[in-house]
Symmetry: none
Subunit: 208 residues, 4 copies
């Protein structure tokens, strides 16, 4: 049995454990918020003991940092902005539909993020650097491309990309405030995306 393999296996196990704990933390943090969440609950959710958490993370806060910094985001919210499909020439509704769907599914994480950014501005910087700005860049590239081929007006795509992302984020927020009984719940994601895309492309105004 090679020694390295043993080492690698160990590393792999460590990584899996970390993921397992972070997944549990994400669940609990996004439901209760950082400070209302208890390590006991995270441990239970992860199926490990409280002590084990501290074998993999320095502190509860470190767990939050790791959570926001990477693991969980890689697989969900990150895609809110950074979708591979964005490189294809897609119709705007399809792009929006993806983003709205992902956003709605991860609204709890988004709120957690917003709340914690307010308390720890570094989180915002980190998140902006790692996720938001690259995501916006991709969206901007998409818009630039469509402006280039003449299917969009020559607007400020820097603002435009932020408006699109903001709109998605904002709809999520409104949805969250109104609750499951609210107006937006009556719409299917698809229809909502279409309506938004329609307004975005054609505008509210009457064509002169």
């Amino acid at each position: 049995m090679p020694v390295q393999s043993n080492h690698k296996k160990k590393e792999a196990i460590t990584k899996r454990r970390k993921r397992q704990i972070i997944a549990a933390a994400r669940e609990v943090f996004s439901q209760k918020g950082f400070s209302e969440a208890t390590t006991a609950e995270i441990a239970q959710q992860a199926g490990v003991s409280e002590g084990t958490i501290y074998n993999y993370f320095e502190s509860k806060r470190d767990l939050l940092v790791s959570l926001i910094g990477g693991y969980a985001l890689d697989e969900s919210l990150l895609n809110l902005f950074k979708s591979p499909s964005i490189n294809n020439i897609e119709s705007l509704p399809a792009v929006l539909e993806d983003r709205i769907e992902i956003g709605f599914e991860n609204s709890d994480l988004l709120t957690l993020l917003l709340a914690e950014i307010q308390r720890t501005p570094e989180f915002g910087e980190q998140y902006a650097r790692q996720v938001l700005v690259p995501g916006l860049a991709l969206l901007k590239a998409y818009l630039d491309m469509r402006v280039g081929n003449g299917t969009l007006r020559p607007v400020d795509t820097e603002v435009g990309s932020r408006i699109i992302v903001g709109m998605v984020v904002g709809l999520i927020a409104v949805h969250q405030i109104e609750g499951d009984g609210g107006f937006l719940s009556k719409y299917s994601i698809k229809d909502l995306a279409e309506e938004v895309a329609n307004i975005l492309t054609v505008g509210l105004g009457t064509k002169k």
Copy 2:
């Protein structure tokens, strides 16, 4: 000196004290979030003792409820949606400018609200009922009016109003994530509102 005056004066003092404490709570809650905030800090910020808080509010949570339910909102976030000026025939940029400005100024409270709604859905219902839905109705009325006089296309104004509000809220969120050094900070509120209004009215698409 009339007797009633005494009673009224007392009542007035009580009201002022409540406001004073709520103002302090708003400050602390929105900086640290509800559970990280301590009553000691709120008391200090309000310039009273901890015990005094409990002469006016049943619990820390009651303080939050009062904060969200009324006082503070009346004077700030409420106006995000419920502006009297909306009844006038105004240009969309002017309407948006107001809303964006108010929203940016109160972004901390908005985040607090979103975070707490997630933990206490009743807050969302209460806020939706008291503030959001009436606000959306006003906005919808404005849109309906403009659709009526032919200055806007006949879009679904129910969705439209939510898109506008969502856009404002979303831009606040993006701004918050990017921080004060972010792209949106470079724009004046006025210019931002104009750009948004422009996109909203004319749309991103090329006129055929």
Copy 3:
């Protein structure tokens, strides 16, 4: 108008107020115990403000001391031992009936007393000196008299008096433990006194 009268009147008012507050304190203390009782509740029960209590008593504890030391006891528990009627040549049942009745009526105060004596032995000493010992002396005198005239056996009346008092106190305690649904509740005070007196005079044993 004589000055002294004014002074006296003032003194009388003071005394009445004190009594009023002590009566309220007795009510609340005996229901909740000293430390669970709040000055707010005592004030409300007395129909005065909290501040007023402190115009008449130095502290909550002082109120307890005053309560135990005198006022309230004069009119109730004191009589458990110190009855004027004891000087008459009465039948034992009649004497016991009085004592049992008074004791049952004031069982809450007795418990308060016992509980507080444990924490503040001086209370015990004070109470013993002022109430119990004189009371026992009277009872002993009564027993001595009956021993003297041959209607009782020549027992140790020092112990005998304590046994009688103890029996009454103990029956109160048992009654309190068993609650209102307990066995002793089914007995009338009169019948209970008779039974006790019967056992006390004749004894449980068979006459040889």
Copy 4:
């Protein structure tokens, strides 16, 4: 090493810890009463930290309930009534001596019990059901037996048993009020029991 042994050992440790804390609580509660006692003091007395108490008991009150409901009573006050020796044909003085001795040794607990019963009648019901009534039944059985074999008069043994228990409890109360310098302290338990038994059997009255 068997696995079960490990589990059992843990359980044993838990039980010991509970006992240790309850013993400390008994000490502190009976000295200061329930509400004046602090968890800090109980923890110190038990030689553990405050937090540890809450690993074994839900609340301070739960600690009191556990104390009254079981552990401590099993080994002390319970025996005030429920002695195995009572089944033997013993002389009344011997029976009384046991009871008086146990009672005097646990007078602090008795007072605690009486005080808390007043505030929490369920305690009384629980105690009556679990301890007092069975104890009285045993005593009654003993009296019935002696009535049956003609060594006692045919009195109401239901009342009689309560009178005996009451007498013991009452003597404890009188002793507690008079303090260690009081009259009863001069008597040995043995002599006191004899005197009481004497009065109980023969009565105070002159044999006609």
